[in-house]
């Protein structure tokens, strides 16, 4: 297993390096190193997005959940439909906003639209969380997997540095375009290997498997049903509800957290830099909501029923029949980690360089200098990530856990930029502050620090089985609505209105798409698919409510419910993409405008005086 797995990982490394070299030899203008000329191939984003959505769930973590909590955890797969909706709603408008107002990064977009430096700083901090602790946690867990798979031949620390170097060199050589193109292939590989492993295992491995065999969950956990609408538990770390943690509110709030991957600055940047076309529609409807969600909903129960010995045991069983497939299953897990690390570190560093170095520190840098600074930044970032993954894996895991829920707190700000001109700067900042604090105190980072410094808190992680993302967002939105109501007639509103008018004129006219019917169907679907209504699925198809008869399906009722609402969800997303028209972008109607105050590229006084002092001393 060791030789084959390492050979496959090396082959991926060589592939990424090959594309980096090819892109570097194109001889494109130096600025394209950072933004791919705002013309990323449509297919790359199509294949990369579903793999990113799966990475948001965390492949290893999701396998752990489904093998310990059964079909209640499988329900999270339906959450990818919500991710698809988020992609369409936000990426499409942000893409137009980028072309209309010339925003180079999500931070610049939000900062200039709301005329707020603070918001730019917030986005930079969020980017940092994704680049360092979140990526370091992914890197560390991938290296742990390699260590176990190779029976200690590649220790965790060595694995971390090996992977970091393998990903850093291509990023430094090829930049944003090469990384996105090569990660798209890894995305296809991931989506290819998952069903292959499941089908082959079902045919070859002994035992009947799902649904004849129950999923071997923890004692007391209800493997074939949701454990209620809500559980009155203090939260993970204090107590865990015996029948399972995935209540309907846990599923809906965790699905909400998943869309944090769409609102992370790096993923928004991916959406900004793609070329015009139908990429958003295809990736959201068919590949993310359709294929990826379908694989998780349909395939995971089969996999979970055979994961009694964990992923390594499963891979070993496959290895006995076919070495390449056994190693291929592990490669699927490794590739998922590699993809997330490479994507977030490369994209995040580029955003950092553009926002920080090119705007404030060295605003007069030539295009060649900009590329060089990005290359230095990438090398530095991968080094820091590897350092954090090697020597501070626990801290990285704790801090990284806030990345997705914190990204979700950007939702009101992004909706303001893309849809609602009445959302004001003050409202956004107040909402963000409250939302971030609540996320902090419902995740390990805040809990551990506060309890170590002060007193024991009565709640743990995700109290009442509600994910921190939802806790934060509820209060965030509440504050935003109240504050915006008080600032409806503020003078800045004129500028925001002007921007929204320009954006509306740049987009193709929408026909009659049945707005009220659509939102009614969407709400009803949400209520039944994720909301309290999902509890009906526990017995809806096995013990129908209008008769005393019991149906013998041969499969659990909740699984049928999940499949049904996944399919309905795909149809709703299709409506959003093709009837509403959010699945396509075009440059034909775009008329650029000057947005906000002129982009002053000057060094702040405190920094300038500091630099002068240093340079004078050295002189």
């Amino acid at each position: 297993m060791t030789v084959i797995l390492l050979s496959l990982v090396a082959a991926i490394g060589l592939y990424v390096l090959y594309f980096a070299a090819r892109v570097a030899r194109l001889g494109t203008r130096p600025a394209a190193f950072l933004d791919a000329g705002y013309a990323l191939p449509s297919w790359s984003i199509m294949f990369l997005t579903p793999a990113l959505a799966i990475a948001a769930l965390g492949m290893q973590r999701h396998l752990f959940f489904v093998s310990h909590y059964g079909l209640q955890a499988v329900h999270l797969g339906v959450g990818l439909v919500l991710v698809s909706a988020a992609i369409l709603l936000v990426w499409n408008r942000l893409w137009f906003a980028t072309r209309v107002a010339g925003f180079s990064t999500p931070g610049e977009g939000l900062g200039r639209y709301y005329d707020s430096i603070a918001l730019r700083v917030v986005v930079m901090m969020l980017t940092f969380v994704f680049v360092v602790p979140y990526a370091a946690d992914m890197l560390s867990s991938t290296a742990i997997l390699i260590e176990r798979a190779t029976e200690g031949f590649i220790p965790r620390a060595s694995g971390v540095w090996m992977l970091a170097i393998m990903l850093a060199v291509p990023a430094i050589i090829g930049g944003w375009l090469s990384i996105v193109i090569s990660l798209a292939m890894i995305g296809v590989l991931t989506v290819y290997l998952l069903p292959t492993s499941i089908i082959v295992a079902e045919i070859l491995l002994p035992g009947q498997g799902f649904p004849q065999d129950a999923i071997g969950v923890i004692d007391g956990v209800l493997w074939d049903r949701l454990p209620g609408v809500i559980q009155y538990s203090a939260g993970i770390g204090k107590e865990i509800p015996a029948p399972g943690i995935f209540t309907t509110v846990a599923i809906s709030s965790t699905s909400l957290a998943l869309i944090g991957i769409v609102y992370s600055p790096v993923t928004l940047y991916l959406g900004q830099t793609v070329r015009a076309g139908g990429a958003f529609g295809i990736t959201s409807v068919w590949l993310t909501g359709g294929l990826a969600a379908g694989l998780l909903v349909l395939g995971m129960p089969y996999l979970a029923a055979r994961l009694g010995d964990g992923p390594l045991g499963f891979a070993s069983s496959l290895f006995e029949f076919e070495p390449l497939l056994g190693a291929g299953f592990l490669l699927l897990l490794v590739a998922s980690g590699i993809l997330a690390v490479s994507f977030f570190v490369t994209g995040g560093t580029i955003i950092f360089i553009r926002e920080m170095v090119l705007r404030y520190l060295l605003p007069e840098l030539s295009p060649q200098g900009q590329r060089l600074s990005a290359r230095i930044g990438l090398g530095f970032s991968f080094f820091i990530v590897a350092l954090a993954a090697s020597f501070a894996p626990t801290i990285s895991a704790i801090v990284g856990s806030i990345a997705l829920p914190m990204a979700v707190q950007l939702l009101p700000a992004i909706l303001g930029l893309t849809f609602f001109a009445w959302i004001s700067r003050g409202a956004i900042l107040a909402g963000l502050t409250i939302g971030a604090l609540i996320v902090l105190f419902t995740e390990p980072l805040g809990l551990v620090v506060f309890e170590a410094l002060f007193v024991e808190l009565p709640w743990g992680r995700w109290p009442l089985t509600i994910h921190s993302a939802a806790w934060g967002l509820v209060f965030n939105v509440l504050i935003v609505l109240l504050s915006s109501a008080a600032t409806l007639k503020s003078p800045e509103r004129l500028e925001r209105d002007r921007f929204h008018r320009a954006m509306a004129m740049s987009m193709p006219a929408q026909g009659n798409w049945g707005r009220s019917v659509f939102w009614s169907v969407m709400l009803l679907w949400g209520f039944l698919a994720y909301g309290p209504g999902a509890i009906l699925g526990n017995t809806f198809f096995s013990q129908p409510i209008f008769t005393d008869l019991e149906a013998t399906l041969g499969i659990p009722s909740i699984w049928v419910w999940q499949i049904l609402f996944w399919l309905i969800g795909v149809m709703i997303i299709w409506w959003l993409a093709y009837k509403v028209g959010l699945g396509r972008t075009t440059e034909t109607l775009i008329k650029p405008i000057e947005m906000g105050s002129p982009d002053e590229r000057r060094i702040p006084d405190w920094l300038s005086s500091g630099l002068t002092r240093v340079t004078k001393k050295s002189a």
Binding site: R22, A184, M185, L189, T196, E322, L325
Partner: protein
């Protein structure tokens, strides 16, 4: 070739690789499993993975308005010839078990690949033009007069 054209070619190359690499990996694994004792159906599944990738490549060509490049055709031909040589090599020098496992499923699979290419050429170019692509004798006449239309020249 200008910068954007080169970038387009590279993007297409990336897509072709993204289609073929996972397919070839899965195909190799399934075929290997079939040959070492899994049975003919696994070999068939391996060839199915190749044919799926081939169809995906054709769809790609149709969407992007391109055709198979010279490099792709050469690589495909070389790999196919290598596979045929390995096939006959296995039949000639392999032991009885390998011969039994390889003879029918791999032979039919290779034949199916040829059929798939022929079907593609006929659908894409029509029977006459598909034949003309292999009509080297017709192109082999170096005299200038052979280029005249009434002499059948088409260069």
């Amino acid at each position: 070739m200008d910068e954007s054209e080169a970038a387009e070619r590279l993007a297409r190359h990336g897509l072709v690789m993204a289609i073929w690499i996972p397919s070839v990996f899965v195909s190799t694994a399934l075929s290997h499993m079939g040959i070492i004792g899994g049975g003919a159906w696994w070999v068939a599944a391996g060839f199915a993975a190749i044919i799926i990738a081939f169809i995906a490549h054709i769809i790609l060509n149709a969407v992007t308005g391109t055709s198979f490049t010279a490099g792709e055709t050469a690589l495909g031909g070389a790999v196919f010839v290598a596979a045929v040589i390995c096939y006959f090599g296995a039949l000639l020098i392999g032991d009885e078990g390998v011969r039994t496992a390889v003879l029918m499923p791999v032979g039919i699979g290779l034949a199916l690949l040829i059929c798939a290419v022929i079907v593609y050429l006929v659908i894409a170019y029509g029977p006459r033009k598909a034949f003309e692509k292999f009509d080297v004798i017709r192109d082999n006449n170096l005299r200038a007069a052979s280029r005249l239309p009434h002499r059948g020249g088409r260069r």
